[in-house]
Amino acid sequence: MSRRRRQAQSVMMISMTYAAAAIATLPLLLILLHLLREGAAFIRPGFFTEMPMPVGEDGGGMANAIVGTLILVGVASVIGLPIGIGAGMYLAERRGAPFATAVRFLSDVLNGLPSIVLGIFAWEFLVRPFGGFSAMAGGLALGAMMIPLVTRTTEEMIRLVPVSLREAALALGYTRWRTSMTIVLRTALPGIVTGALVAIARIAGETAPLLFTALGNQFWSTSLDEPIAALPLQIFSYAISPYDTAHAQAWAGALVLIAIVLVISLIARYATRSRFGLGGD
């Protein structure tokens, strides 16, 4: 009897974890389905090449917002990736040092900081003193968001590199920094690339830090010292407008944004898998 009961318990627990796993993916599935239903009809070639029409009018595209998002993500990456990866390497190498412990703690705090707070901060220090909203300020705000994300994943990935590999390089007469740069960084690279792409995907969809920095722009601009359009901002402004066509545009923009994030995630997957990395033999 007790054997039966154990089996029944086991089946029940396993079904519950299955159910939890299914529910975990449910929000994403619902969002995707809804976006496809509402937005797919508006996705046409012109959506990627045309400028937005004045709110309330039909047609038009989001060319400026798509390019704007790419520029913002580019600026953020130029700032966030080198600093984040460098800081992550430092944390991994100097694990117990007081400064490392402090940096690790602070980057965890920064990670948990609401992005709207970061946006206000960026406005105070990057927008106001320089007399206006700009793509540069937006990119810097997004870059600041990236730094703690990249720092922590880089640290984790470098820690996964076996000590024996580091010792092997040191025993061959490699200096500490050369060991870090060649062996340790190279071995951890697939994981670091994945972490970087996940961070990029994450900031590509951020709206709050951009509200006070990049501001958004109805016109074509690729200049770093002008306000610039961005997909999340465009979606936001269309979504709060009272017109049905604008709402449809917002859905379509959201679909494009999700597609961009999805593509980045897929690249991240591929980057991890195609190289020989940790774990497997």
């Binding site: 061959l172 490699y174 050369r178 190279r186």
Partner: protein, 266 residues
């Protein structure tokens, strides 16, 4: 006591060149003293085996010869460690240069996740700046010396992690040899290998010993007996006895040595 043993040992007599010589060498991990006043002289060429129960300090001693212990924090040492008569802890000594002269092979094979060629070329490429043909040559010679060439010559570009455990360990030996070291330190190099792979490593070391000073830490007493010319027995951080291997295994001076070798403790 241990000091007097080392001094009466014939090979440390003046005039005989010692490849490695420890003089009252002591070592601490934090508060814990791991080595006590080690007096040990390792002659050029030939194989010296360091034996003793776990935690006796033999690996610590080995890792003091190429200063690998310095990668840890909170360590301290006293006394001298000489490499061909020069103190390796001296102020003018470049640790990077030292480690290219004193190669090391670890307990678990640790090839880089790169090609067989890249693994072997690692040292000479940086330490001697070799490129192209000259580098190819060093790679081939090193792989031949490590008795691996015939097995890998057709797949030098493939990932070293695809090799078997024994091959990986021989690759690690080839990688160390490519630096043309004066001394090769091996820390239980065969303990994770099957008997066949172990035998290949032993044959290889036997081949190398005429050109190279080899110091091997081993838990396998038969291995020490088969392989080494001289054996040093460590116990609780002290060097109990050192001498020619056949003497150590048949009529050791110290009772503790005999007890360990005959399996009564350890």
């Amino acid at each position: 006591m241990s000091a007097s043993v080392a001094r009466t040992d014939a090979s440390s007599a003046p005039g005989v060149a010692a490849a490695v010589e420890a003089r009252k060498f002591s070592f601490w991990y934090g508060e814990k003293q791991a080595l006590f006043d080690i007096e040990l002289s390792i002659p050029s060429n030939g194989i010296t085996a360091l034996i003793g129960p776990s935690g006796c300090g033999k690996s610590t001693f080995l890792r003091s010869v190429n200063r690998m212990n310095e990668t840890l924090t909170d360590i301290r040492r006293e006394g001298d460690m000489l490499l061909h008569g020069k103190d390796i802890y001296g102020s003018g000594v470049d640790v990077v240069d030292l480690r290219s002269r004193v190669g090391m092979v670890f307990q678990r094979s640790n090839p880089f996740p790169k090609s067989i060629y890249a693994n072997t070329a690692y040292g000479p490429r940086i330490n001697r700046g070799l490129r192209g043909r000259a580098l190819d040559e060093v790679v081939e010679v090193s792989l031949r010396r490590a008795a691996l060439w015939d097995e890998v010559k057709d797949r030098l570009g493939t990932n070293a992690l695809g090799l078997s455990g024994g091959q990986q360990q021989r690759l690690c030996i080839a990688r160390a040899l490519a630096n043309e070291p004066e001394v090769l330190l091996l820390d239980e190099p065969a303990s994770a290998l099957d008997p066949v792979a172990t035998q290949r490593i032993e044959e290889l070391l036997f081949e190398l010993k005429s050109q190279l000073t080899i110091v091997i830490v081993t838990h396998n007493l038969q291995q020490a007996g088969r392989l080494s010319d001289r054996t040093a027995f460590f116990y609780l951080g002290r060097l109990v006895e050192v001498g020619p291997t056949d003497v150590m295994f048949t009529r050791p001076r110290e009772e503790r040595t005999e007890a360990y070798i005959t399996g009564r403790f350890g």
